[in-house]
């Protein structure tokens, strides 16, 4: 009985894309490393070019690999078992992303509840404050650092709130796109997905605007842990939204080209999961970075 139910597993033949991707990552790493050294130390070099070459190659790899993947999937090579493998793989990948953000949130909590209060003399650090930072007062957000740099707080009302609403709505529209796909309402898929992408782009635009505003009012990447955590958390989130938007765009075109069936649409599902994940991160961000 059991053996009849077992499906033939599709093991892909040799593929050039992984090794292309490996070379691309190599170029990106070498390029980015040298580019950072050269740009912050005012040196000449090939860092930027190497980085761009790497990114270009990575793009080639992604397109090629996905094309393979799509062709295979379209010609029905994939079994349900493989579909499960992909879904689980994506889920674990998102888990790894959760842990990446967790580390930055951890840094934020540590700064708020440990390092800043300790610099102000809390816990076993009375002498830290008395001897090293006698004028420092621990408050959050940390607008005057122990070293004396000052900055301004970013309020939660206005732009951030608007962005929160935008992202929340985008999750809803994406959800509708998904249910429409499952009931094979192609037009509605396109509309809902298009809306989601639009909302993503607006979010990014507003976020860019907010950064400019922040720099204007003196909140910068290097203005102490408040600015550090603010920009790194929102920055990495922004990068993820960008990536998510690109993924959604690809999905959009695939829908236009008639890919996916109501039952088999792993790529769509993965993209949707990713988008919802990015959304949840934002809600956490909004709460812990802006409001609290």
């Amino acid at each position: 009985m059991a053996e009849e139910e077992y499906q033939k597993y599709y093991v892909p033949a040799q593929s050039v894309w992984p090794i292309v991707g490996a070379v691309a990552l190599f170029l990106i790493a070498v390029g980015a490393g040298n580019f950072i050294i050269e740009s912050t130390r005012d040196k000449d070099g090939y860092g930027a070019y190497t980085l761009i070459a790497g990114l270009g190659l990575l793009l080639v790899m992604i397109v090629g690999w996905f094309k393979n993947q799509i062709d295979e999937s379209m010609s029905g090579l994939y079994s349900a078992q493989l579909g499960r493998s992909y879904r689980q793989g994506m889920a674990w990948f998102i888990f790894s992303e959760v842990m990446f953000f967790a580390a930055f949130f951890g840094a934020l909590f540590y700064a708020r509840t440990i390092s800043v209060p300790w610099l102000g003399g809390a816990s076993n650090n009375a002498m830290t404050n008395e001897v090293l930072w006698p004028t420092f007062e621990a408050v959050w957000p940390l607008l005057t650092t122990p070293g004396g740099d000052t900055s301004t707080q970013m309020g939660w009302f206005g732009l951030p709130l608007a962005n929160t609403i935008i992202l929340l709505i985008s999750s809803v529209t994406l959800h509708y796109a998904h249910t429409s796909l499952e009931t094979d309402k192609r037009n509605s898929v396109k509309i809902c997905l298009g809306l989601t992408i639009l909302l993503g782009v607006i979010f990014l635009g507003l976020q860019g605007y907010e950064y400019i505003h922040a720099y204007d009012i003196g909140l910068t990447l290097d203005s102490g842990v408040y600015g550090n955590t603010f920009f790194l958390l929102t920055g990495f989130h922004g990068l993820h939204v960008t990536l998510g938007t690109v993924i959604l765009m690809v999905l959009f075109f695939r829908v236009v080209w008639g890919h996916f069936t109501p039952k088999e649409h792993f790529a769509f599902q993965a993209g949707a999961w990713y988008w919802h994940f990015v959304d949840v991160v934002w809600v956490m961000l909004f709460f812990f970075v802006y409001i609290l």
Partner: protein, 546 residues
Amino acid sequence: MVSTTDTTHSGDHDADTQDHVASDHIDDHHHHEAPYGISRWLLTTNHKDIGTLYLWFAFIMFLVGGAMAMVIRAELFQPGLQIVEPNFFNQMTTVHGLIMVFGAVMPAFTGLANWMIPLMIGAPDMALPRMNNWSFWILPFAFLILLSSLFMEGGGPAFGWTFYAPLSTTYSSDSTALFVFSVHIMGISSIMGAINVIVTIFNMRAPGMTYMKMPLFVWTWLITAFLLIAVMPVLAAAVTMVLTDKFFGTSFFDAAGGGDPVLFQHIFWFFGHPEVYIMILPAFGIISQIVPTFSRKKLFGYASMVYATGAIALLSFIVWGHHMFTTGMPVEYEIFFMFATMLVSVPTGVKVFNWVATMWRGSISFEIPMMFAIAFIVLFTIGGLSGLMLAIVPADFQYHDTYFVVAHFHYVLVTGAIFSIMAAVYYWLPKWTGKMFDITLAKWHFWCSLVSVNVLFFPMHFVGLAGMPRRIPDYALQFADFNKWISVGGFAFGLSQLIFLALIIKACRHQGESVSSQVWDGAEGLEWEIPSPAPYHTFETPPIVR
């Protein structure tokens, strides 16, 4: 079981078309033998090829990292600065640690996982074969970057494998940017490798291979993979913060901006402690395969082995502070981390006792894998017990950052992780090549290694207790005698590994006597039911496990 075999509920495609289409294509791709030449290795999606690549890479890295250890031991042969400058010495220590951890032990385990997990659970391959290739091939590049940074102006990383800020930020050389990105790539590789392992185990077991029937090597790797996915991203975040602190003016680890250098250590060790268990859990799995085989007796306490592994993994998330007892944590935290750390000994003890109970009233024979396994049990336990001593905070104030710690972790890593890898290689090599390896050479390898490794690492306990700090290129005269012995042991241990190299090369040339599919009498498990050498494709039709 249902999850691996059931199609009726998923119902994507009509079962008939599915079978038809799939077999067409599989014929295309599959029923030929291994491809030839360099492209076989560069483009491969075959779990056995990728496993082989990982294992060779790990071995080469072991030799490179070992060569650096030889530089360290040569410099420490006598007091005084003899052959290298302090700054270079620090680079050697740092890169030795990084290479051994990320380049030797972890890839070796991943290689074994690639080779053996599909064979042990009756799967045709890993779940995501192309990603499997990718996760391997980015590794050599990562280490190429790391090693080439040694030749940059200002030298490579010289801040210890733990790269504590601000030594790794404000006070490091600019090559740190490359160090950071190479660690990112290592992390990406490990995460992808781990995802592959988890998904393979969840999804590709042969019918009847229920979770509680899986061999322990599979179980321990499942849990290891979970640890990897949970903590490698945290390491990535840590290096990212180092990068921004050094180059972009952030102050995560700088008090003047409201940060704290100790925050770095919290983040690092939140990764770092699970990391050390990542390097020992698969070893536990290997030993749990080998001991029953050569005792000709079922593993004692299978279920408790599984639970103990899980318990160690869970505890590993709440003990990181034991690396930071001297950082000035408030006393409540110190006590918490002390108790939590000590608790790890309980499940680990369960494992040791189970192995002994497996041997008890068995019918024991001493083939090479068993000799390494026995050496593992004894020497790992010594390392574990010194770990327990380190957990006692007041005593750790004296041990911390001395050679006592160096002794502890080389016992668990070299005579633990590395010995288990060697045991595994001897155990499965005949399965891989179809020939028995050169037993005489193997015996030489074992006995030379066993003696020299103890001459190398045992006296480190003494010099450590007597007060020799770690990471120093020169030391006070009272440590001179023991250091001489340590270095002699080190050179001897290094040379002994060349015997291993010779043996492996011989085995790869398929010299020696052919072996049966079972190889060892007493061996049980799916991997022993396929022919030796294992064909290029196995279990295309899944076996039935009862």
